[in-house]
């Protein structure tokens, strides 16, 4: 262990999660790397009231796409992904950067290659209801009130210049 590593480990404000990059949210309002999957919610192109819940599992690359009411996506077939999964992968790369997504999914993506083309998985069942409820929970943050009480613990979470510019 070199001196730098020791120093990082002894920093209270060490950075663990890099901030995400800004991106348009209208088409894919929710993307996350969680529970061993890349998962998220994709708007339907035709029906404003409908969304698709899509996910790809790390390592096996098993994929799934269905409406939030659990109807399977018509665009999926045995080994072929639908446009929602494409959009999910593209937006994940925008949000987290290719490196972080590829590392999480354990896939090697070479120069000029498309993430989703490098994952040859097949359709597999996934907990769409769980992902959709995580999306609702995500949105619920915006309904919580602000506070003027000090949150001194936020000193552990400095804002950073990484990301936006």
């Amino acid at each position: 262990m070199n001196a730098d590593t020791a120093a990082w480990e002894q920093h209270s404000a060490a950075r663990v999660v890099p901030p995400v990059e800004p991106r348009k949210l209208a088409k894919v309002p929710f993307v996350e790397l969680a529970d061993g999957r890349l998962q998220g919610v994709v708007s339907s192109g035709s029906d404003a009231a409908r969304v698709y819940v899509s996910s790809i599992t790390a390592s096996t690359y098993g994929f799934s796409c269905s409406t939030n009411n659990n109807r399977p996506c018509g665009g999926l077939s045995g080994y072929y992904t639908c446009k929602h999964l494409q959009a999910l992968a593209d937006e994940a790369v925008r949000q987290y950067g290719l490196d972080r997504v590829a590392r999480y999914l354990r896939v090697e993506v070479g120069e000029g290659e498309n993430l989703i083309d490098r994952m040859k998985g097949r359709r597999e069942p996934a907990p769409a209801a769980v992902v959709f409820s995580r999306f609702l929970r995500h949105l619920a943050y915006l309904e919580l009130p602000e506070t003027v009480e000090p949150l001194p613990e936020m000193h552990w979470f400095p804002s950073s210049s990484a990301g936006v510019r």
């Binding site: 800004p22 609702l136 009130p145 613990e153 552990w156 804002s159």
Partner: protein, 460 residues
């Protein structure tokens, strides 16, 4: 700030390294889990307990470490350990802040124990839910954290976040859970933020104790607030702006902090975060337009002015650099509440002028300080290039990883032979740089998009 003042900061105060070494023993035990301590780590905990001998914490901590060594891990032992760690870091904080005050010649008010009692009733089941998750983390150790253990906090955290009286605890644990989730499975990580996670864990354990002391009755103040700068704190689901300023009131001229915090999601980043704080237009205008504010009957407690836009009126222009030059030296700094004493909270406003720049190292009369350009918030106009071109800087002195660093809040600089000025709060009413306006427009109005979705999906 003068070169001689920087010189007075050199070297760690006596006892700090030894104290941190004792805490490292506990932090290491948390990496591997209190569930299987082993002799060596049990000895490290005993050493920590030994250091507290003779203090009120001495007996409970030594009893707790004894029980832990015997394999018993329960609420009581966990609380004692977290208390021991907080005492160590509190002492380190006090030593560092005393050194800083002495170097700056800064007068600081003495702490007065509030006469009030507890912080009021908070739902006991939520506190115990948090404690049991924190206990599980401690037993498993960071290396044993997996998706299931992180997800185990979901329901409790959701309920805690919905309880305004537990906002501190909720925001802290939510930040910790997100880091653990992103790091899962932790066993495969090359390196761990050992001190950081132990910090967050220990503070969480303390905040999850029932009957935590309340803040006591605040003083009510009226007067003029002159902002010095804005410190921005942010994780995936929360943003806080902390405004440092000088308050002139009948109580004298004092350094105060005020601010607002809002919940958010990770995709709201950069200048968009100001939209979440739009409910405080007077404060935001004061920052964006660099004006002073007249405040009427605001509660002030331990240096924190509890903001209320309805009791604030925008007043004349107030250049923060003029405020720093004329008033910083004569303002009295507040005492830090005991439960907040940790080196990470040290953030003292200073003015640095006449420095020479060598990368991120600045020197003043031959004495050096590192500048932390990673801490420039993405919601404001400060960039590493502007900071490097600076001739004057308002910043916060912070201590982490064994050294002092300067975190810029505002700079006056010379760019292409022209004077420019930038403050972290310049965009509080929206970005003013056309290039940034354009970049932000590219990702659309994310706050509105998400609020619209929330409105449709959460209330149908």
């Amino acid at each position: 700030m003068l070169g001689v003042q920087l010189a007075a900061l050199v070297g760690t105060p006596a006892g700090v390294e030894e104290a941190l070494g004792l805490a490292d023993g506990l932090d290491d035990a948390l990496v591997h889990g209190l569930g299987r301590l082993g002799e060596q780590r049990a000895a490290a905990l005993a050493a920590l307990a030994g250091a507290l001998e003779g203090s009120p914490l001495g007996r409970p901590v030594s009893e707790a470490t004894g029980k832990l060594a015997a394999g018993s891990v329960a609420d009581e032992q966990i609380a004692a350990l977290a208390g021991a760690r907080a005492a160590v870091f509190g002492a380190v904080h006090d030593a560092l802040l005393a050194r800083l005050d002495a170097a700056l010649g800064r007068e600081r008010a003495a702490w007065e124990e509030p006469a009030g009692t507890g912080g009021g009733d908070v739902p006991a089941n939520l506190l115990s839910g948090c404690r049991s998750w924190l206990n599980e983390l401690a037993i498993a150790g960071w290396r044993g954290v997996d998706h299931d253990l992180v997800s185990a906090s979901d329901q409790t955290l959701e309920a805690v976040l919905a309880e305004p009286r537990l906002r501190r605890l909720g925001v802290l644990l939510d930040g910790l859970a997100a880091e653990l989730r992103a790091s899962c499975p932790v066993a495969t990580m090359d390196r761990l933020p050992v001190r950081r996670w132990a910090d967050l864990w220990a503070r969480g354990v303390l905040l999850a104790q029932p009957g935590l002391p309340g803040g006591g009755a605040p003083e009510t103040v009226s007067g003029r607030l002159l902002p010095l700068g804005v410190d921005v704190h942010e994780h995936g689901t929360a943003v806080q702006i902390e405004v440092h300023g000088v308050l002139e009131s009948s109580g004298g001229t004092r350094l105060v902090r005020t601010g607002v915090a809002a919940p958010k999601v990770d995709t709201i980043v950069g200048p968009a975060v100001w939209q979440l704080l739009g409910g405080h237009p007077v404060l935001m205008a004061a920052l964006a337009e660099r004006r002073s504010v007249t405040v009427q009957d605001l509660p002030l407690s331990a240096g924190h002015l509890r903001w209320d836009d309805a009791r604030a009126t925008l007043a004349e222009a107030a250049d923060p650099f003029a405020t720093a030059r004329l008033m910083l030296a004569g303002s009295v700094a507040p005492a830090v509440p005991p439960l907040e004493r940790h080196p990470v909270r040290i953030s003292e406003p200073v003015l640095v002028e006449g420095h020479t720049v060598n990368g991120t190292t600045w020197s003043l009369d031959g004495h050096e300080i590192e500048v932390d350009v990673e801490r420039l918030p993405s919601c404001g106009p400060l960039t590493p290039a502007l900071v490097a071109a600076s001739t004057s800087c308002i910043g916060l002195l912070r201590w982490d990883g064994g050294r002092w660093r300067l975190q810029p809040l505002a700079v006056q600089a010379t760019v292409k032979k022209k004077p420019v000025e930038a403050h972290t709060g310049d965009w509080a009413l929206g970005p003013t740089d056309p290039k940034v306006v354009k970049a932000v427009a590219k990702s659309g109005d994310v706050v509105t998009v998400l609020r619209e979705r929330a409105g449709r999906l959460l209330r149908k």
